[in-house]
């Protein structure tokens, strides 16, 4: 049964992903400890901060709805700005979870086990944050439901040629499948939580959501099939969502938008920012929740490798964009790229280049890949860089397009910032609540891996004994 050992131990790098000393009980105790313990002061403080930002979001949205989106900085010609920048940014962040869960599952990458749950949660929360923007950015959000195809008495359907309608489908499908995938994966852990509940209320609530899981063989059989199927469903979505988001721009004829490279380049960028966000979040999580044994340096290093790879893809995307702008001899297109680099928003552009093109290259070095402070700073820089990228794509393309007479400048208002920072508050609130009430690590999968390791050890021992005999 060398095969089993191979799964656990990478032949090229024969180290255990997870130290093989925990049994189920200790794993339960260890991984659920944070949830059963009374809320720590640090957690409460963070939640307070997150709720304050959430309050800012509520106020900002309320004021926007009351006065109109004129309270933002958007104008003619820059019809889209923070609203769509933040939308694309959050959707991009929401890519890592599904990628880690689904694609790495299909590729049987065992190292996903410890991080997939948090990454999936992050995905869902990020998509929730993203979802606020397409709704709010409309002039009359109370009619935004007209983007959904439903048989209305108006007798009017959405305009199916518009990428915004595709967006509606893409985002809602992605959110649904991601949420299902996440929940299905949670069921065995919810049952474990139910069984280790300290109070009746807890048992009730976890009991309801564990859907009567009794860990029978049949349950496991169905569960595995459902999980795999959902993984199969999610995989194309990882590619489709940001592809479709990129169509919002690529189908337009504005120079800087009208580019065929956008779909792959957006997907790479999304994975890039998503992984960076996972790193940004997991480093404090594993420190404060004492999960260093479960989320190991090895995990982080692997993620940094993905960041490096996708960062290079993004750099290639930039390169091709600039090359095509020159090679196509489309002078309007060429000007957009000159304007990005030397125009009024050059600062944002060079920040983007610094964060997205230069920063990931430090992960060529093992020292950087394995140094927690370096990777944490780098991951934050990547997220800043990816936000700048969306700013550059949206604002600099719009602010100087074909007719110089219409050129203008965009600057955000306090409400633009309020909503942006507010969504970070919403995201943090949801994530903190998640950490407190749901297992941040897929406990059942970790246990499963422990058993696989132990089984492999037994087999090895038995074989050794047999040979000795």
């Amino acid at each position: 049964m060398a095969e089993t050992t191979d799964i656990v131990l990478d032949p090229l790098e024969p180290r255990h992903l997870v130290p093989p000393h925990d049994d189920d009980k200790s794993l339960n105790e260890k991984l659920f400890a944070f949830m059963w313990a009374p809320p720590s002061k640090a957690w409460l403080a963070l939640l307070g901060l997150a709720l304050a930002l959430l309050g800012l979001l509520v106020v900002s949205i309320g004021y926007t709805l009351y006065e109109g989106i004129g309270v933002w900085g958007n104008n003619q010609p820059v019809g889209w700005a923070f609203d769509i920048i933040n939308f694309v940014w959050w959707v991009g962040i929401g890519h890592a979870g599904t990628l880690i869960s689904a694609i790495l599952l299909l590729f049987q990458q065992k190292w996903r086990t410890s991080i997939n749950r948090a990454a999936e949660a992050m995905t869902i929360f990020a998509v929730c944050c993203a979802g606020i923007f397409p709704l709010l950015h409309t002039g009359r959000p109370w009619f935004a439901f007209w983007l959904f195809p439903y048989p209305s008495t108006l007798g009017v359907w959405p305009q199916f040629r518009s990428p915004l309608v595709w967006d509606v489908f893409a985002i809602s499908t992605y959110l649904t499948v991601s949420a299902l995938f996440w929940f299905v994966g949670l069921v065995p852990d919810l049952a474990a939580l139910r069984d280790s509940s300290k109070t009746k209320l807890q048992r009730r609530i976890y009991g309801i959501f564990s859907l009567g899981w009794r860990s029978s063989g049949r349950h496991w059989h169905n569960y595995k099939i459902a999980y795999l199927l959902l993984a199969g469903l999610s995989t194309p979505l990882v590619l489709s969502v940001h592809t479709i988001v990129s169509f919002d721009f690529a189908t337009g004829l504005i120079p800087g938008w009208h580019t065929t490279i956008f779909p792959p380049y957006f997907v790479a960028g999304a994975v890039f920012s998503g992984f960076a966000m996972v790193v940004t979040l997991l480093i404090p999580v594993r420190k404060f929740m004492g999960l260093r044994d479960v989320i190991t340096d090895r995990h982080l290093e692997n993620m940094n490798k993905v960041i490096l790879a996708t960062g290079l893809m993004v750099s290639y995307g930039y390169m091709m964009e600039h090359f095509v702008a020159w090679y196509s001899a489309n002078t309007n297109e060429a000007f957009v790229f000159i304007n990005r680099a030397v125009g009024p928003y050059a600062g944002v552009y060079w920040l983007m280049i610094a964060c997205n093109v230069i920063t990931p290259n430090i992960f060529w070095f093992k020292k950087a890949r394995t140094s927690v402070p370096i990777m944490w700073v780098a991951s934050i820089l990547v997220n800043i860089g990816m936000w700048c990228e969306r700013f550059i794509i949206i604002v600099t393309s719009l602010h100087r397009d074909f007719l110089p007479s219409s050129w203008g400048m965009y600057s955000p208002t306090v409400w633009d910032w309020g909503i942006y920072v507010g969504t970070i508050g919403l995201f943090s609130t949801l994530f903190l609540l998640f950490l407190k009430f749901l297992p941040a690590v897929a406990v059942s999968e970790v246990k499963e891996m422990q058993w696989e390791i132990k089984h492999a050890a037994h087999v090895a021992h038995d074989e050794a004994a047999h040979e000795a005999n």
């Binding site: 010609p77 002039g139 040629r161 337009g252 007479s405 400048m409 965009y410």
Partner: protein, 1055 residues
């Protein structure tokens, strides 16, 4: 025009004493006004008002009070003054006795009241607009207009198509003046020493006071009038003189055109008004004359001049000498920028070069001399087809020289004709005010009646007019707004708007033009000028209608008067009443004398005053449409600035938005700097009219006290237009001027190092006449790219069928000065909101039609081209396929239609519009309107709410109206069901004085627009995007003098 018969019938009604102006429907708004009026009677509280008082109490329902809140100023509802209250009590019993008899003791006879729409006249159909001829008054001249009214509510002003001057077009101001009628800032109650009083309090005190002046023949009675040539007012003035033989009349306007008349007097020995005929002129040489933009005849100038800018006809050539880049300068083939004082030198040099006897050539720089010589040769070659004209800012001697040169060329009688001056009676410039000031100083003025526009604000500062007024015991001032003079006057009587009272006046050619009211005065307290004049005659009350009619009855006799009167009122003017041409000669003989009278040219930094292109001399300060119309060259809105050339700015070490102190004759004024290319060096130009305090516009930036700065604070009697001796001190302050267009040129802005990568975009195309004619093929090569469509994707065949017309537009760049008349017309027609300075600063102006101004050439001697652009109605519109909710779709007639109530406001369409012509309601711009402002809305056009995208509709409401008329006619057996060419006139097209905009059916090759589309000059903007716009632009052709401009290598004159 199909509406003519209606107007005819109505005016028959109007001419009968029982019905006054346009009958008005008693819809909700009118009921409201009616009740509002009844309520306002309380503030009048004069004799016998108790009758109304009881009714009004009944009418003051809570709903009514709520709906009119904010309409009346604070204090309007105060009880009447003590004296009147006593009168009221005295008369209470008598009034009660009269109650029920039905004779309302109003100040206006009851038969002048509006007629309820319960009895609809036969000719009226609700919802179908009526057109009435009327007139507006600008600096004493009538501009003939045709007013469109819905159910008695005027909503749009057009030029009177039959009037010889207007010919259907209007200038920017007249388009916007409807908003003055409905302005929430209009004065509406009589004031005594800044306290609200009843109008009758004024009459009760003033009429006996006048009686006391009779003793010495009114020696201490003075009038300061706005210049006018109204026969009926002059008749009244004559009768006032009979009662007060010693009364003295003065006249003043801060934008006086006196120098034209005085110049002719200098040249020909008697005061005359010049009238230029640009349809005859091959070569035009303008000495600081902004003749396409300013003055009462500019509309006609535009029409005649631009008709000669077609390469298929005989092309004219314009030389423009000026200090500030003017709209006329935009169309100039050669523009020489000199200080205003140096214009006289150029005039002298030109006179010498043309060969006017007795004029010696002054010394000029070699460059200028070459320029003048070339122009002189050109003028001589043109002979009697040449004309030289001077602007009103130039002294009379320059005008005399201009006439001398034209006479030398033989142009008098061809390119320029002379008539008796229209404003002949009084001086209108500072000299008249000077006489008055001396009289006041000498204590000879007891009573001063002022109808001149705001002299306290506008009079030269060294006159100290406000202080002078304090020395006059009784001053009476009448105006539309409570301005600075209103606050300084003892009595202030709010005036009627031109559309609220009857009147007459002469237009610039002398044609007697009638002002017909379209609506009863919106406020009870307002009085027309004839009504106020009548007080001086101690006559019983007569309305402006009676006064006017009686005047003409007396003037022309009773025989056949009714028929005559009806025709006048219907047409809006008396035909063939223009002044006859006067033989004028002797200008060349007077040239030497003119030269001797030329002011000496002083060195030093020059201060130039200019009447604002946006708000005139300040009389349109309260007009938000005009305040927000971009200054044609600088594109600044809601502000004026100290304009300075780049070189002088460098010398003074200032840049745009720096605040400087302008120091002149010991007076200091802070002003923000704006660097304007091609401005004369060593000169600074400031626009008048800004910086007023008091009733000012509500859309100004929050926190600021006023709009702009008052340049008039530096204006002196001997230097009303320009003078040297200005000093500029820099400050550390800055002030952000707001522009609707910040890009200078079509050149891409890149740092020096990347200049080779930059290029000039082919947007507003120009070519020279010579290259166009000689080598059209070569010139056409770059154009071909912009006109032809070579694509693998074949355009979808247009949906055509029987009766389906395809609408399109052509805009001729060669005819456009960027005057904004079309922009305002579009705004008024389509209920486009004004958004205020702050929103424009954020880039959210709402105008559907905009004037793109691009400079080209060297910064110091830049030329400008203006490109009007609204939605171009692409056949393959990029906005349509990106809208997620089908809110912008294509009509079968080729219109790109915006469905407001389907729009959710994603703004994707605007982002994807390469022309950026879509406008988004970021805030609820249409809200918060007062009841009167709401009355200005065009009922045929939806008022858009917040969160909705909008854009040019090709005036779809006008298309539909024409369609209904055509189909009705077709159903009756007249003509086809296709709308004939010319039946649909868009608002912008109608307003444009130079007819640069043509609209029509492009499917029919015989229409005007099709012919223009087929013209070699026509091109599609951004053609390479494949959007197939229905609006095409026509290349502007310039006609430079080959002697001055070496022929550019072919093709390179395409920008």
């Amino acid at each position: 025009m199909s509406t003519k018969p209606d107007a005819m019938k109505l005016n028959v009604l109007a001419s009968q004493p029982s019905v006054d102006a346009a009958p008005e429907q008693k819809d909700g708004m009118d009921v409201l006004l009616e009740t509002g009026r009844a309520a306002a009677v309380e503030s009048e509280g004069a004799h016998g008002k108790s009758y109304w008082r009881s009714i009004e109490e009944k009418l003051q329902t809570p709903e009514f009070l709520e709906s009119t809140r904010g309409e009346f100023p604070v204090g309007a509802d105060l009880p009447p003054s003590g004296v009147v209250r006593r009168d009221f009590l005295q008369l209470l019993g008598a009034s009660m006795a009269l109650a029920g008899i039905g004779t309302a003791c109003s100040t206006r006879p009851s038969d002048e009241r509006m007629v309820s729409y319960t009895k609809v006249p036969d000719s009226l159909a609700p919802g179908v607009p009526q057109h009435y001829a009327s007139a507006l008054d600008t600096d004493g001249f009538a501009s003939a207009i045709l007013v469109q009214a819905y159910e008695g509510r005027p909503v749009k002003i057009e030029g009177n198509p039959e009037h010889p001057i207007a010919n259907g077009a209007t200038n920017t101001f007249d388009q916007a003046r409807l908003m003055d009628l409905y302005s929430p800032h209009r004065a509406r109650s009589t004031r005594h020493k800044n306290k609200d009083v009843a109008y009758n309090t004024f009459t009760e005190q003033f009429v006996p006071h006048l009686k006391s002046l009779e003793a010495d023949g009114g020696a201490k009675l003075h009038f300061l009038l706005a210049p006018h040539a109204s026969p009926s007012l002059m008749g009244l003035e004559e009768r006032i003189r009979q009662r007060f033989p010693n009364a003295r009349f003065h006249s003043w306007t801060s934008a006086s055109r006196e120098s034209l008349t005085r110049g002719a007097e200098l040249a020909f020995g008697r005061p005359l008004d010049p009238h230029y005929d640009f349809s005859q002129a091959d070569v035009v040489f303008s000495l600081d004359a902004d003749f396409l933009q300013r003055g009462p005849e500019a509309v006609r100038h535009m029409r005649d001049f631009s008709a000669r800018r077609d390469p298929n006809g005989t092309f004219n050539r314009l030389y423009q000498v000026e200090s500030t880049f003017s709209p006329t300068g935009v169309l100039a083939d050669h523009r020489l920028r000199v200080r205003s004082a140096d214009v006289a030198t150029i005039a002298q040099a030109l006179a010498a070069a043309v060969g006017v006897t007795g004029v010696s050539a002054p010394s000029l720089s070699a460059e200028q001399q070459k320029w003048v010589d070339a122009a002189a040769a050109d003028l001589r070659a043109a002979g009697l087809k040449g004309v030289v004209l001077a602007g009103e800012r130039q002294p009379p001697a320059v005008h005399a020289l201009a006439h001398a040169i034209t006479e030398q060329l033989g142009g008098i009688g061809t390119t320029v004709r002379f008539t008796e001056p229209v404003l002949s009676r009084f001086a209108t410039g500072p000299s008249s005010l000077q006489t008055l000031a001396q009289a006041i100083q000498a204590g000879e003025v007891d009573t001063l009646f002022i109808s001149a526009h705001d002299p306290v604000y506008g009079a030269p500062v060294d006159l100290g007019f406000e202080e002078l007024l304090k020395k006059v015991p009784n001053t009476v001032y009448t105006s539309l707004f409570e301005d600075a003079t209103a606050r300084a006057a003892t009595w202030f009587v709010p005036a009627t708007h031109a559309l609220e009272a009857w009147g007459d006046n002469r237009s610039v050619d002398g044609t007697i033009t009638f002002t017909q009211p379209l609506i009863n005065p919106l406020y009870t307290g307002v009085r027309s000028l004839p009504e106020l004049y009548a007080l001086f005659l101690a006559e019983p009350y007569r309305s402006s209608y009676q006064i006017l009619r009686d005047h003409w009855l007396g003037e022309t006799g009773a025989a056949g008067f009714q028929a005559r009167w009806e025709i006048w009122v219907q047409k809006g003017f008396q035909e063939n009443s223009a002044y006859p041409e006067v033989e004028a000669s002797g200008a060349t003989g007077a040239a030497a004398r003119a030269v001797s009278q030329l002011p000496t040219v002083k060195e030093g930094l020059e201060l130039n005053f200019r009447v604002s292109d946006q708000i005139g001399d300040g009389r349109y300060f309260n007009n938000p449409y005009l305040q927000e119309s971009p200054e044609p060259l600088t594109k600044i809105v809601w502000d004026n600035a100290a304009l300075v050339s780049p070189r002088t700015a460098a010398r003074l070490n200032v840049k745009t938005n720096d605040v400087v102190e302008l120091v002149y004759r010991g007076k200091t004024l802070e002003a923000p700097v704006f660097i304007l290319p091609s401005h004369a060096d060593e000169a600074i130009t400031v626009a008048l009219g800004y910086g007023q305090t008091g009733a000012f516009n509500y859309l100004r930036s929050p926190g600021s006290e006023t709009v702009g700065f008052n340049a008039g604070l530096l204006r002196h009697q001997d230097a009303v237009w320009f003078d040297s001796g200005l000093e500029v001190r820099t400050t550390r302050k800055t002030y952000e001027l707001v522009q609707t267009q910040t890009a200078w040129s079509m050149e891409e802005p890149v740092p020096e190092a990347l200049k080779p990568l930059s290029r000039v975009r082919p947007i507003a195309l120009e070519a020279t006449l010579a290259s166009w004619k000689s080598d059209a093929k070569k010139i056409n090569e770059p154009l071909r790219h912009l006109t032809e469509r070579e694509s693998l994707l074949k355009p979808l065949p247009p949906k055509t069928g029987p009766g389906v017309q395809q609408w399109g537009m052509a805009i001729d760049l060669g005819r456009c000065t960027g005057c904004n008349a079309c922009v305002i017309a579009c705004q008024v027609e389509n209920n486009i909101p004004v958004v205020g300075r702050d929103q424009v600063k954020r880039g959210r102006e709402m105008t559907w039609l905009r004037m793109d101004r691009y400079f080209s050439g060297e910064l110091e001697d830049a030329r400008a081209v203006v490109q009007a652009i609204a939605c171009v109605h692409c056949e393959r519109a990029p906005c349509e396929y990106v809208c997620p909710v089908n809110a912008t779709v294509h009509s079968e007639e080729g219109l790109n239609v915006m469905v407001y109530n389907r729009c959710v406001g994603t703004r994707y369409c605007s982002n994807n519009c390469p022309y950026k012509v879509r406008r988004f309601n970021y805030l609820h711009y249409s809200t918060g309107k007062t009841p009167t402002e709401r009355m200005s809305m065009n009922p045929d056009v939806t008022v858009r709410a917040r969160g909705i995208m909008e854009k040019c509709t090709y005036c779809v409401q006008r298309i539909q109206r024409a369609r209904i008329a055509t189909r009705k006619a077709a159903a009756g057996g007249e003509g086809s069901s296709l709308i004939p060419d010319g039946a649909v006139v868009t608002a912008c097209q109608q307003a444009c004085p130079s007819q640069a905009i043509v609209f029509g059916d492009v499917a029919d090759p015989e229409t005007r627009v099709s012919k223009l589309h087929a013209d070699a000059r026509s091109y599609r903007l951004l053609n390479d995007l494949g959007t197939l716009p229905r609006t095409r632009h026509l290349v502007r052709i310039n006609n430079p003098n080959p002697a001055l401009e070496p022929e550019a290598p072919s093709g390179s004159d395409h920008h």
